[in-house]
Symmetry: C2
Subunit: 113 residues, 2 copies
DNA sequence: AATCGATATGTTTTTAAATACATAACGCTT
DNA sequence: AAGCGTTATGTATTTAAAAACATATCGATT
């Protein structure tokens, strides 16, 4: 059975900046309060996630994720207010995109059989 | 500078069926009349393109590409009428998607800076 | 039947990405 | 200052995709 799929993301100078991967990572960070725990949930390597966070923070006017090392619980990670705003924007965008998909799926003959 | 990107494709049972890659391939086949020449233009390996064509034909009610081997000119490839129809559908879809992008790019705060 | 240029197909090599592993650094708490 | 759990970072290994290479097959034309 055939399905129409659409994926959207934001690029910074031709390289991926924010998309499904980072979006899911931020959701897990928000839930777990730690980068390592978020990573565990997602079956993603810590290194990859860490680099993702660096990139997100570096190419924004404000950090999306705040990382803290040391301290009582060893440290932790949280999504900033600014990061939460971007997450919401992306969610809203995805909603519109899904509406387009639903509409188009009815028309496309390719999807038949 | 940040940009919103969207990519759409059609899946058959979870695996890619028709998207930007096959679409470009069909365009080149149409132009060149041969799979090997199309591949050369695209810097794609013949094997990959050949497998793509097999998949496109196998999972459709009708072949999108007709491959001919032997004969005066050794053979050749052409996009079927059915294939042309799918190409047009995909082009039309991309047009609508681009309209959505243009509209959304004005709204997204993430794109600022 | 010999030729030619394209399709068809298997094997090997290269490449890049992801993962795994190891270890240092941090700072609050006790 | 010792312990803890997390962030930070380098190195090595694994994996999968892509490319490169080699060769067989086909069939109209001559």
């Amino acid at each position: 059975m055939k399905q129409l799929k659409i994926k959207c993301w934001i690029e910074e100078d031709g390289e991926k900046f924010y998309g499904p991967g980072p979006h899911e990572l931020l959701k897990q960070i928000q839930k777990e309060g730690s980068l390592s725990k978020a990573v565990e949930q997602m079956h993603m390597s810590y290194k990859k996630a860490w680099a993702m966070v660096q990139r997100l923070n570096q190419f924004s006017e404000e950090a999306l994720v705040i990382l803290k090392k040391g301290g009582q619980h060893g440290g932790g990670a949280e999504v900033s207010l600014y990061g939460l705003g971007i997450m919401k924007e992306y969610d809203d965008l995805q909603l519109k995109v899904r509406q387009l998909i639903a509409q188009e799926e009815k028309l496309l003959k390719v999807l038949k059989k």
